[in-house]
Structure formats: structure tokens, C-alpha cells
Amino acid sequence: MKILKKADSIYDIFDRKGDNSPYVTHYCAGCGHGILHKLIGEVMDELKIQERSVMISPVGCAVFGYYYFNCGNVQTAHGRAPAVGTAISRAEDNAVVMSYQGDGDLASIGLNETIQTANRGEKIAVFFVNNTVYGMTGGQMAPTTLIGEVTVTTQNGRDPDYTGYPMHMCELLDNLKAPVLIERVSLANPKKIRKVKIAIKKALKIQKEGKGYSFIEVLSPCPTNLRTNVEETEKFLNEQMEKEFPVKRFRDRSKEVEKVKREKSDFSTENLDKIFNIDRTKVVEPTIDPSYEELNVKIAGFGGQGVLSAGLTLAQAACAEKRQVSWYPAYGPEQRGGTANCSVVIAGDTIGSPVVESSDILIAFNKPAYEKFSQNVNENGIIFYDSRIGEIDVLNNIKTISVPVHKIAIELGVPKAINTVMLGVLMEYGKKINKEISKESFHQGIKETFRSKPKLIDKNIEILEAGSNWARENLKL
């Protein structure tokens, strides 16, 4: 006896509906999703790939795919299945990755990612369910809505002058070189459904063998939103949809192509530490010291003046002192000449927010930065600024210190190192306000910041000293 019945790769119970009907899907009567689910499940069984499979559910009616497919499941943000699929397929080379997406998800919000992913030839089988409407949200026009088709948002029928033409995804992707299989099939009737299964099998065999991208567009019935009965639905698929979206195999390169070769992923702690430059022998655990009052530092200037790296060095130095530290940069899109600033919070206890609204110390490297941030310096705060800014307005009797950073930096032969001069000044100032960060810690900070440019470390330590010397002689509070 042969029994045609549910595949092992489909769950025995569908918890989605729960209560009194745990054996039915959440889909409407006559919906194509259940049919496609069943077929994919059967093929997973037949190819024996269930244990290797990861199904990616979209946003749309099939959002609950993980209630049905008994395999790995991920549900992604709207249209983002190709990106997530790419990640899974690359991280787990042996995975059979399937992305199950509707026409809104794939052809509208996810169109770019779909094309890019196809173009890279990722090892993903895409099942693109085209039913010409946004189903879940109530039957609005989708990218695949036919010309003249009435939907909730095209009450007089889709007008191409106003909303363009139906998106032909297979044809679009067929312009790309990388995809291995592109085919359009239809769920209109039992005969065609069997052809869908053959196409699914081809697509998943390509994945099983790791050969690359396969794309199956499935014309699918949505009787609820089309407001049709069973005969009309079949007729709509056969006569109208197929006219616009011809059912055919656009390409099949599965016999020509080889397995895609990917480098082996290594997620071991050792390897990740190497990538991120982490030396676990040198990890410094911060201490809790409630007596240490939080210090908020803002460093601001042009991009390129070393604003962000000065902040990083300071943060690293404070880390070496076992303080709780945050570093928070803010900058424009310009590589050079845009405004840049960073906030460094140094605290004795857990930091609530890395954002510095009002600072205890402001370091301003140019006039706009001075003008912008000097208004938000605390009453007992202090401002250090590049002496080249010249005349400044002093607000609320806040202490302002003009530092000849450029002059000092030039004397040491590195005109760009004004940021390190300023750090030297800051090191000295710290002692005066009982917030000392030791010389050794600053050296440590410089070593961290210039880790990729070791030649600069000694020079910057020298510049730091010069800044510190200047402050010792000139800083009078």
C-alpha cells in the first residue's frame, strides 16, 4: 500500500491555530501557500535534506512559516530574506537555505536585495509566491498586480500610466549571469501542481549540491482577495496571470555548474579574537567606585583633526585606570572638513548614557565647535581650545584655556598631532581636579589607538609629554 500524505518535513500539529483546530493552517480556504508548503516538505523528504534545511519566512501571509516547516527557521524583517539567507548560507556552508517570499516582500521592499543576491549567485533557493496582491494587509495593489486588475488600492483597475506595469521577476533576474535555475510555475490545478513539485525538486537539488542560486516563481491563488470562487480562481491563474507571467523554465544551468566554493567559516573564539584584535590576557575589568564622580568630556572640531582618535585614546587611558568608560562619536558624511565630535564619559559606576549633553571638559579644535558646544559646559567646567581660534566670547565665567597646540606640534615635527598635545594638557589638568589618569595609562591609550601604526607610538608619547610640560608651566587655575 502506498499512501500519499503529509511529509515528515512538515509538522504533525500546527500550533498557530491552537485550541480546537491544531491541524489546520492559518491560511484562508483555497490559498496556495499550504499547497506550496506541502510540496516543499515532500521534496525535503525525498532529497533527505531536512536536517540541513533552513527556511526563511518573510513578512506577509507566510510570516508563520516556522509553524509548518520542521527544519531550521528564521523569520526576517520585510524584504530582508536575501540578506539573512546570504549570511546563513555563507556561515553554514552545508545548509540548504530556502527563502520563501511573497510579491510584496520580494518584488517591492526587497527588490534590491533580491537582485543583488541573485547577482552574487548565493546558495539559496527562492520560492517567490506571486498572487498579484498584498494578501495579509487586505488585498492592496502589489508590484505584480495585473493591468486593469481591481484591488483595494486600484478601484478602477491598475492603470500603468499611474502605477506602472506588473513586475516580471523571472525575466528581470534572467538578465543576470549568476543564477543557476529560474523557473515560473503555477498552482492552478493538480496537473500544474505536479510541475511545481518538479521545479522545487530541481531548485533544492541545486542547493543540496551547493551549486548556487535558484529562483522559482509560483503563481498562486488568493481567492480571498481576488474575491473569486474556486473555478474563477483557477481561470484567473490560467487565463490572466499566465498571459502576463508565462509559465516556463527560463534557464537551468544545473548540469553545467560546479559546487560553489566558499572559504570555510571559522567562528572559534581564537579566530574572532584575532579578527577583532582582542588580547584576552590584557582584559581590564572595570571597578565600581561610587566616590568617583562622573566626568563628561566633549571633544569637537573638523573631521581630520584627530577629534575621534583623541577621544578614543582618552577612553582607552581611562580603561587602563579601571574606570567605567564610554566613547561616543558623532560626525558628518565628509571624510575631511565636516564637523566631528565625540563624547567620552568616565565614571566610577555603570554609565547610563554615552551621550554628553553638558560637559565638564570641552576640547574645541575650531571656532564652530567652540561656539556650538561652549554653551553646554557645566558651571565648574573648563574649555581648552586651539589658540588659532583667536578671540572668543566667554560665557558664564567658564574657565577657558587657549592652548598653542599647533605651535607645540610643529616644534616636534608633526603639525597634525594637535590632538595628542591636547591630551597631554588634559593629563596634567586631571591631576589638578583629582581625576588623575596616570602617564602609563595614557601611554597605554596611545598604544591602543596607534596599534595599526606602531611607528607613530613613540612620537605621540613624546608629543603627549610636550603638551603635559606646557600645561605644567602655563596652566594656572
Binding site: 499512501i3 512538515i10 483546530s21 496556495g32 506541502k38 516538505g41 490545478n189 496537473k191
Partner: protein
Amino acid sequence: MTDKKTKLEPYPIIKKNECKACERCIIGCKQNALEMSKDLNDIGYYYAKYKGKNCNGCGDCYYTCPEPLAIEVHIPKKKKNRKDNYGSEDNG
């Protein structure tokens, strides 16, 4: 006792409470062997029923049904020439 004349016929099993009355199987059945019930099932729908004869085991109702768990088709083993289920195995 096996009677040589007892011919094993294929038949569908339609789970009453898993049917939502979409009618796909009824219009999909070339043998016209299925019909809609007169009463409602436990989840509030009419449901497809097997009329009790003429199933040829083609599997069309199973494949066209949108509910993965609702229909099974039981097909007795016969000699080769069956055309059922031609989407599987060697067609991939």
C-alpha cells in the same frame, strides 16, 4: 482468506475537521468522486467527502488541497503502469 477476486481499490481519507471547503479537490477530481457535505464540521465549515467509489488513486485531491494534513490517498500496490505521483523520485 484471500479471495483472488477481491480487488483492492484506492481511496482518499479526508479529515473532516481539517477542511475549509475551498472546493479545490472537488473540482480537481477527474473521477468526480468527491462532494461537499451538507453539515458543518467542528471548525465551522462544510467539508469535502469521498462519495465512496471511483477513486483511481491519482492523488490530485491530495496535491491540490491547501491543507497539508487534510487529505491522504491510499493506493494499493499494483503493476507498473500507474501514473500517480509522477512528481516524485525519478522526475527530479
